[in-house]
Subunit: 159 residues, 2 copies
């Protein structure tokens, strides 16, 4: 049975995020998982041909977007783990981005999968700091850091 | 006659950026202008209803994307100004993002225009640092800083 992605556990009403919501049919629908050691998280996404910046290279906003969503998904998975809870238990942990930083190390080529690898740098109370590395063809093209904060209940409770 | 946006001066082969290229039919096609004093730049963009994070609020990756493109457009306009050149003269100045930082100050509401205002903090050689403020209903929702670097000729010359 294939492993379920973090985003597949989000409750339906919180699954419309443009970057990672499985129910947003216009969105990117990225999928994040623990790696084989359970220490880092991984995600692979192949940009569409119109996610272009200049000819041949990926649009930086798309890179920022997938770093952002992979990091907030990682934050949620880490919070469940710290709480000793399974990801399908309620109330759902959902994280919002308080700050996003991306360094673009080199132009990122189009038409290949982008592989992201993230690690929790800090988890304290409702805040999780996640670092993300993005590779294309085994070359690191971008590096990000996200400060994710657990969404307040009034924003995530089903209306 | 309506003012031409910075992005309307980009040569055709550099006008396919997902965020700001006027020829990318799938993209956001943002438009940036000098403000009435010619000191700051402005851009207004209304997210589509699927640019959602959680119900009622704009997706952070979209906010990062429009901050990024408004900043690189601002960098190009500023570079032309410093060079004493009109924006329709060749060779074209195009800027790539070396680093992007966004602080999300509060959830950004959907269904209203997002108004961006940017200022050049530093311009030196091929590097321009731009700060951006993003408002919804006159409330500042996000703040960004972009380090933009003039694209090397080999990336922007028409193949």
């Amino acid at each position: 049975m294939p492993q379920k992605a973090f985003q597949d556990y989000y409750p339906d009403h919180l699954s419309y995020c443009y970057g990672c919501g499985r129910l947003n049919e216009h969105g990117l629908q990225i999928k994040s998982y623990w790696d084989e050691n359970g220490e880092e998280t991984v995600c692979s996404f192949t940009p569409r041909d119109y996610h272009i910046a200049i000819p041949g290279y990926v649009y930086g906003g798309l890179i920022a977007s997938i770093i952002d969503c992979h990091a907030t998904g990682t934050a949620a998975a880490a919070a469940y783990r710290v709480a000793g809870r399974e990801m399908d238990t309620l109330p759902a942990f959902r994280f919002l981005t308080a700050a996003l930083h991306v360094d673009y190390l080199r132009p990122t080529p189009l038409n290949v999968p982008l592989n992201l690898r993230a690690r929790v740098k800090e988890i304290k109370g409702r805040k999780v700091v996640v670092s993300v590395h993005l590779y294309a063809k085994d070359e690191e093209c971008a590096r990000g850091e996200v400060i994710a904060v657990q969404a307040p209940d009034e924003l995530t409770t089903k209306l």
